[in-house]
């Protein structure tokens, strides 16, 4: 514990960053907890007589154009946005990383086959794939998630493959083979830890991108469908009231921006944290 504290003190800039990020993460979890258990208002309950209210004790952030409590919807929206983004990300990573390791380590025909498939997926930009898929299967958040997974796993597979490709040439892998380790063990114990850092950094940066993508698609009506509370959809809902009640757009916008920022900060922190050399030197 002492060592940990000492390390934190030595690098003040990082400490502040991580501190802020962690506070936000805790806040998000409290918010999600609150939304799950202590929900005061029904996020779907419309109340046209109480629409577009400003801040009050009853509605901390006021109500929207259908009289729904904005604070409750913001929290639930966060749950949706972050939850779905994480789902998409985790699925993409858990498809991409093993495939990348195997392709990089085995090489030969496996690798070539894999690369052609990956090229095929890479040929389409994520927005196009999402629009086409959502157009074919109908607009819904699950189709959007599917599209994101289809596009994103390739990035991880390629990143992992290129790292593994260079590492697998090194002699410690040869020595591990010479000493009788099986291919599975080598991939798991001698190659996988190498890429955790890279993958975490890319993933935390991607999380922000995916959140933006989901929000953007919900904003144009191809993602989350009303009345589901989602930050992008909320932005879209309040567009018409931009002049009379600009804060309706401000809250979800701020939420998106801060979450994306946090994920980037965490990405930086992870990158430093996974550097064994740095840890020992400090």
């Amino acid at each position: 514990m002492n060592r940990f504290a000492g390390r934190l003190l030595k690098n003040r800039k990082q400490t502040i960053q991580v501190g802020i990020a962690l506070i936000f993460v805790v806040m998000i979890f409290i918010g999600i907890f609150y939304a799950f258990f202590i929900l005061k208002h029904d996020p779907y309950l419309t109340n046209l007589s109480g629409r577009l209210q400003s801040m009050s004790l009853q509605h901390p952030l006021g109500t929207d154009h259908l009289g729904r409590d904005v604070f409750t919807r913001l929290l639930l929206g966060g749950q949706q946005t972050i939850g779905y983004s994480l789902l998409a990300l985790v699925t993409a990573v858990s498809i991409g990383v093993p495939l990348g390791i195997i392709a990089g380590y085995k090489g030969g025909i496996v690798d070539r086959l894999f690369m052609r498939i990956a090229d095929g997926f890479l040929a389409f930009p994520d927005t196009i794939v999402a629009i086409v898929l959502v157009g074919l299967l109908g607009p819904s958040i699950s189709n959007l998630i599917l599209a994101i997974i289809l596009v994103k796993w390739v990035n991880y597979a390629r990143l992992v493959r290129s790292t593994v490709l260079s590492e697998a040439q090194k002699e410690y892998i040869l020595i591990a083979r010479i000493n009788g380790l099986s291919a599975g063990k080598i991939m798991k114990k001698h190659l996988f830890p190498h890429i955790v850092g890279h993958v975490l950094v890319l993933a935390s940066l991607d999380l922000g991108k995916i959140i933006l993508l989901i929000s953007a698609f919900s904003y144009i009506g191809l993602g989350a469908q009303p009345p589901m509370p989602e930050w992008g959809a909320m932005l879209n809902d309040s567009r018409a009231y931009f002049q009379s009640m600009p804060e309706l757009m401000f809250y979800p916008g701020l939420a998106i921006v801060s979450v994306v920022l946090i994920t980037n900060m965490l990405g930086d922190y992870f990158r430093d944290r996974f550097d064994v050399k740095k840890e020992v030197n400090q």
Binding site: G107, Y172, I175, G180
Partner: protein, 266 residues
């Protein structure tokens, strides 16, 4: 006879890299394989453990105690590697996985070869480290915290961990300074005396050959041009290329190139 390489050829799509090479290593031999870079020494040594990249094709046979290594399945050869045939390489930086502690390597390899007791594994690893003159505390260090000589000695300890019958040392002192290199070789020689293993020693350093080897073979362009006992080859070279090599590394004292006369005196 520990190892008998019989007319082994290694080729890629365009050309033959190793051409019908045969050599025999007996128990307790320090067999030096000498030759310039690109002559195929390393590839030949890697073919012994089926370690060649997939695009290279191997013909011929490599007998290890009456077993043809080239015909073994992947699973069978895996059991043999480490336990019966061990390798040490030139690049000591890359011998250990950078983010794992030295001790974890020892532990893992012992575990793979069926040592189930954790305490015993630790004891064996410490013994192996101490046998090459390394302190116990290095067990808990990361590879980048060790010096080159320490790493190379740790690599030797790792290679000799399961007391293999054959150790293949591929230019292990080339990347070390001469003092560390000397210490590493002394250590290897000492361990060889203790365990009685045979060593296939790949090098182009004549000093090492003169000092340690008892058999040697000279390789050029994928062929063995001359092989035999050290004194025979160094004092009475037959092939033009061998003569050239010996001439290019003159010794300071007067006497035979192999040092046989001085050995006899002392």
């Amino acid at each position: 006879m520990i190892l008998s390489i019989d007319e082994v050829s290694i080729r890629n799509q365009n050309k033959i890299i190793v051409d019908q090479v045969s050599l025999t290593i007996r128990e307790g031999d320090w067999f030096a394989l000498v030759g310039e870079s690109g002559s195929g020494k390393s590839l030949l040594s890697q073919s012994i453990g089926q370690l060649l990249p997939a695009q290279l094709q191997v013909e011929g046979s490599v007998f290890f105690k009456e077993q043809d290594l080239l015909k073994l399945s992947a699973k069978e050869i895996r059991k043999l590697r480490g336990k019966n045939v061990a390798y040490i390489f030139q690049d000591y930086q890359g011998s250990f996985t950078p983010f794992r502690k030295i001790g974890e390597h020892f532990d893992e390899y012992l575990k793979v070869h069926g040592f189930s007791s954790k305490k015993l594994r630790y004891k064996q690893a410490i013994e192996a480290l101490e046998s090459v003159g390394l302190a116990e505390e290095l067990y808990h260090r990361y590879p980048f915290q060790l010096s080159g000589g320490q790493l190379q000695r740790a690599a030797i300890a790792l290679a000799l961990l399961l007391s293999p019958d054959l150790v293949i040392a591929d230019e292990i002192t080339t990347a070390l300074d001469s003092v560390s290199g000397h210490r590493v070789l002394e250590m290897l020689a000492k361990r060889q005396k203790e365990t009685g293993c045979s060593i296939l020693f790949i090098t182009h350093d004549w000093r090492v050959v003169r000092r340690y080897a008892n058999k040697l073979a000279i390789m050029k362009d994928g062929k063995i041009v001359e092989s035999g006992g050290k004194h025979r080859i160094l004092d009475h070279p037959q092939h033009q290329y061998t003569k050239q090599l010996i001439k290019s590394a003159p010794i300071l004292e007067k006497g035979l190139p192999s040092g046989l006369d001085r050995e006899m005196k002392s």
